[in-house]
C-alpha cells in the first residue's frame, strides 16, 4: 500500500528566525491510520501540521527544504485551497475557526467555496450533522455552543468537504476532560466509519493511548521516535524529553523495577485490569 502522506527530509524555518522549526522530517502515513503526534511545547508539532495542508509554505513565509507529498500532491506546488479538499484541519482555539453566524452556514462555507450546487450542500450538511450527532445544533450561533460542541462543528465543517485526511492540532486544549474524551471517541468513530486518515496532536496521552495506531514523538524540531504506542511509551527517551507518560505505563515500569512483569504495557484501564487480574490470580 502506498503512503497517503510522505515527508522526505522536510525542514522549515519561519521567516526571520534562525533556528529550524522542523528539521529533516521523514515519515510515511498510510491511508486509514490514526496517528498521534506528541512532544514538548516548541517541538515543531504545530509547524508540521501546518505543512500538511499547505499553510506552510503558502500562508506562513519562510524557507522550506525537502519534500512533502499529500495524497499525491506536492504541497509546495499546490495552494492550500486546493489541498483543502483532501486535508481538513481543526485548530486549537474552538471559537476562532467558526466564522459564520450559524452552524449550518459554517458547514456550508467550505462547500460554497468549492462552488458545489445547492442540493449537494444541503445533503452534505445533513450528513455531517448526523455523523457527529449534532443535528440539534443546526441553527445555533457559535456563542451558544460549549467548547466541545464548537470543536464538533469544526470537525463537521471539515468533513463536509469529504477530505481523505483530518488533521487536528491540540483540539482539546481548551476543553474539560469529559468533553475531551467525547471528542476522542467521535474521532475514533469517524475514522472507523469513514475510513479517513486522522492525525492528532495531543498532550493528553492517557485518553488516546489505546485508540491510535501510531505515535510520532518530536523534540526540538525532529522526530525522535515513531512506532506503535506500546513500544513508544516505554522507551526511556520519552520521559527524558519531558513528556507526561500515561500513569498506567508508569505503573507497568514501576512493577518491572520490582521484578514483576505484566504481559504487555497496558494502554487503558480495561487492559490494565486484565493484566492485573492475571497477575493476582497466580
Amino acid at each position: 500500500m502506498n503512503p497517503i502522506i510522505e515527508a522526505l527530509n522536510l525542514s522549515f524555518r519561519y521567516a526571520g528566525e534562525e533556528r529550524w522549526a522542523i528539521k529533516s522530517i521523514n515519515l510515511k502515513i498510510y491511508p486509514g491510520e490514526f496517528v498521534l503526534i506528541t512532544g514538548p511545547s516548541g517541538c515543531g508539532k504545530t509547524t508540521l501540521c501546518r505543512c500538511f495542508n499547505g499553510l506552510i509554505p503558502h500562508f506562513y513565509e519562510g524557507e522550506l527544504e525537502g519534500k512533502l507529498i499529500v495524497d499525491g500532491l506536492d504541497t509546495v506546488k499546490n495552494q492550500t485551497c486546493k489541498l483543502a479538499q483532501r486535508v481538513g484541519m481543526v485548530f486549537q482555539n474552538p471559537e476562532n475557526q467558526l466564522i459564520m453566524l450559524s452552524v449550518e452556514d459554517e458547514i456550508a462555507f467550505g462547500l460554497e467555496n468549492l462552488n458545489l450546487p445547492r442540493n449537494i450542500i444541503k445533503e452534505r450538511i445533513n450528513e455531517v450533522l448526523r455523523i457527529l450527532g449534532i443535528e440539534n445544533l443546526r441553527h445555533k450561533s457559535p456563542h451558544e455552543l460549549s467548547g466541545g460542541e464548537q470543536q464538533k462543528v469544526a470537525i463537521a465543517a471539515c468533513l463536509a468537504m469529504r477530505p481523505k485526511i483530518l488533521v487536528l492540532d491540540e483540539p482539546t486544549a481548551h476543553l474539560d476532560p469529559l468533553s475531551s474524551k467525547a471528542l476522542f471517541d467521535v474521532l475514533y468513530d469517524i475514522r472507523n466509519k469513514l475510513n479517513i486518515t486522522i492525525i492528532l496532536v495531543e498532550h493528553r496521552l492517557d485518553m488516546v493511548a489505546s485508540t491510535v495506531d501510531k505515535v510520532i514523538v518530536m523534540d526540538k524540531g525532529q522526530i525522535v521516535l515513531q512506532g506503535r504506542p506500546r513500544d513508544v511509551f516505554i522507551d526511556p527517551i520519552v520521559k527524558a524529553i519531558g513528556i507526561g507518560v500515561p500513569k498506567l505505563i508508569l505503573l507497568y515500569e514501576d512493577l518491572l523495577l520490582n521484578n514483576i512483569k505484566l504481559d504487555f504495557p497496558p494502554l487503558n484501564i480495561d487492559e490494565a485490569e486484565l493484566l492485573l487480574k492475571k497477575l493476582l490470580n497466580r
Binding site: G88, F109, N113
Partner: protein
C-alpha cells in the same frame, strides 16, 4: 454591556410576516419613509408617518425592544427638539421643532424595524443580489459574528487589569484615557492574532479556490414582497403628489412664546 439603544437594532428570531419579507423589499420601505420624511416638514404628516411605523413593530412582535431603543435615543431627540426650539424663528418654532424631532424618530424607527426583522444571512444575500462584492458582505457577516466575542474579551481584559490595581474611574479626563491603554493594547493585539487564526481557518476550508462560488441560502421575491414594495411605491407617489402638485402646506402652526 448592552445599552438600551442597541436593543432596538439587534436581530430577534421571531417568525413574522415582516421577518420573512425579502430584505430588498424592506430597503424599499426604508427609502419610501426616508423620502416622505424629507419632503414633508409639517406637523400632521410627520406625526402620521411616525405613527405608521408602530403597527409594523407590533406585527414584528418586537414592541419591547423597540420601546427600549426609543428610550435610549431619548437624549438625542430631546437635544434636536431643544436646539430647534430656541434657534428657529418664533412664529412656527414649536411646531417645526416637534416635526424635526419626529423626523429623526421616524428614521430611527424604520432602521430599527429593518435590523430587528432581517436575518443577517439574508441581508448578506440581498446585498450580493444587489451586486455588492462577496468579500464585503462576508466582512459584514463576520463582523456581526465576532462583535460579541470582542465584547467578552474586552470584559476579560478589564477584569485582569483591574485585578492588578488598575482603576478606570478618574476625575481627570486625560488620566482616564491614559488608563485605557492597558485595555486597548491587549485587545488590539488579540484581535490581530484572532484575524490570523480566522484567515488560517478560512484557507483551510478552500476559501479562494474558485472565483465563482455557490450560495447555500436563496432569496426569492414572493407575492408578499411584490405587494409590500408596490404599496410603498404607491404611498410615496401619493405623498409626492399631495406635497408638490396639490401644494400642501402647514395647517397647524405653533409659535414660541417669545420672539
Amino acid at each position: 454591556m448592552s445599552l438600551g439603544i442597541f436593543q432596538g437594532f439587534k436581530f430577534n428570531r421571531n417568525n413574522t410576516i415582516l421577518h420573512n419579507l425579502d430584505p430588498r423589499a424592506k430597503l424599499v420601505y426604508i427609502l419610501s419613509v426616508l423620502t416622505l420624511s424629507l419632503i414633508f416638514s409639517e406637523l400632521y404628516p410627520m406625526l402620521i408617518l411616525f405613527l405608521s411605523t408602530i403597527p409594523l413593530v407590533i406585527i414584528a412582535r418586537s414592541l419591547n425592544e423597540w420601546l427600549r431603543s426609543m428610550r435610549g435615543g431619548f437624549m438625542i431627540i430631546l437635544m434636536i427638539f431643544l436646539l430647534n426650539y430656541f434657534l428657529l424663528p418664533a412664529e412656527n418654532a414649536l411646531s417645526l421643532s416637534i416635526s424635526l424631532a419626529l423626523r429623526f424618530l421616524t428614521i430611527f424607527s424604520v432602521f430599527s424595524i429593518f435590523f430587528m426583522t432581517t436575518y443577517p444571512e439574508n441581508l448578506a444575500i440581498a446585498l450580493i443580489k444587489l451586486k455588492a462584492p462577496y468579500d464585503y458582505t462576508l466582512t459584514f457577516t463576520m463582523a456581526l459574528r465576532f462583535i460579541p466575542t470582542l465584547a467578552k474579551e474586552a470584559q476579560t481584559i478589564i477584569d485582569a487589569q483591574r485585578s492588578r490595581g488598575l482603576e478606570l474611574e478618574s476625575r481627570n479626563f486625560i488620566i482616564r484615557i491614559k488608563r485605557l491603554i492597558p485595555i486597548l493594547i491587549p485587545l488590539f493585539i488579540n484581535s490581530l492574532r484572532r484575524a490570523s487564526q480566522i484567515a488560517e481557518a478560512m484557507e483551510s476550508r478552500a476559501f479562494g479556490y474558485s472565483s465563482k462560488r455557490s450560495y447555500f441560502h436563496e432569496l426569492n421575491f414572493t407575492l408578499y414582497d411584490i405587494l409590500f414594495t408596490l404599496s410603498c411605491i404607491i404611498l410615496t407617489s401619493l405623498g409626492l403628489y399631495i406635497k408638490f402638485y396639490l401644494g400642501y402646506s402647514e395647517t397647524l402652526v405653533l409659535a414660541r412664546p417669545w420672539p
